[in-house]
């Protein structure tokens, strides 16, 4: 039973355009959401987070949007750069999972074409 789903395994975007990565979740008790980025042969690195009391959080080129009614979040990268090519994981916590236990999606591989 996958509580956090990333239905697009891969995405290709032209350099300079917007990249939109999507994530859906099923547990309405989740109250904190994260995005991590992973390069090959490295561990994931924290990118951006959002609490359920907000619907948007922005950090430079990265913006995360949360739609609680749809149980959907998305990560926007504008403008996309070749160095953004990586696997992106969304993760969620809260409810019975506690504040430290994050449920991760399966990841979306982003390729930014020069």
């Amino acid at each position: 039973d996958q509580q956090v789903k990333q239905n697009s395994p891969s995405l290709s975007v032209q350099e300079g355009r917007i990249s939109i990565l999507n994530c859906d979740y099923t547990n309405s008790m989740f109250d904190y959401f994260l995005w991590y980025k992973k390069y090959p042969a490295e561990g994931p690195t924290f990118l951006i987070s959002i609490s359920s009391i907000k619907d948007k959080n922005e950090d430079g080129r990265f913006t995360v949007f949360l739609n609680k009614s749809a149980k959907h979040l998305s990560l926007h990268i504008v403008p996309s750069q070749p160095g953004d090519s990586a696997v992106y994981f969304c993760a969620a916590s809260g409810g019975t999972s506690g504040t430290y236990k994050y449920i991760f999606g399966t990841g979306t591989r982003l390729k930014v074409l020069a």
Partner: protein, 114 residues
């Protein structure tokens, strides 16, 4: 400063053998987490340590898996009588106790059971 380190980076073992995976967290990070990522799957939570104690072992898949942490620092994940389905990348992360949303991951140990 030094990040999270894991050893070995790769391990090939025969079915039925025991393996030990090591994690050295960032100094001062009292929270430590083990995850595994099987092919095509997301990160699967295994166990969480706060200091030397493990308040949440709920993710350990079977009693063949155990983990310990000594001195509030280094942790070892032991898999006894390995099976082919144990083949995965095992990732360790650490964080400050109040900042579980920002976990610092090591590069992982790729375990292959033949």
């Amino acid at each position: 400063g030094a990040g999270v380190s894991q050893s070995p980076s790769n391990k090939v073992t025969e079915k039925g053998k025991d393996v030990e995976l090591r994690c050295d967290p960032i100094s001062g990070h009292t929270a430590l987490y083990w995850y595994r990522q099987s092919l095509g799957q997301g990160l699967e939570f295994l166990i969480y340590f706060q200091g030397n104690s493990a308040p949440d072992k709920s993710g350990l898949p079977s009693d063949r898996f155990s983990a310990e942490r000594t001195g509030g620092s280094v942790s070892t994940l032991t898999i006894q009588r390995t099976q082919q389905e144990d083949s995965a990348v095992y990732l360790c992360a650490s964080s400050l106790p109040s900042q579980s949303y920002e976990q610092y991951f090591g590069p992982g140990t790729r375990l292959t059971v033949t």
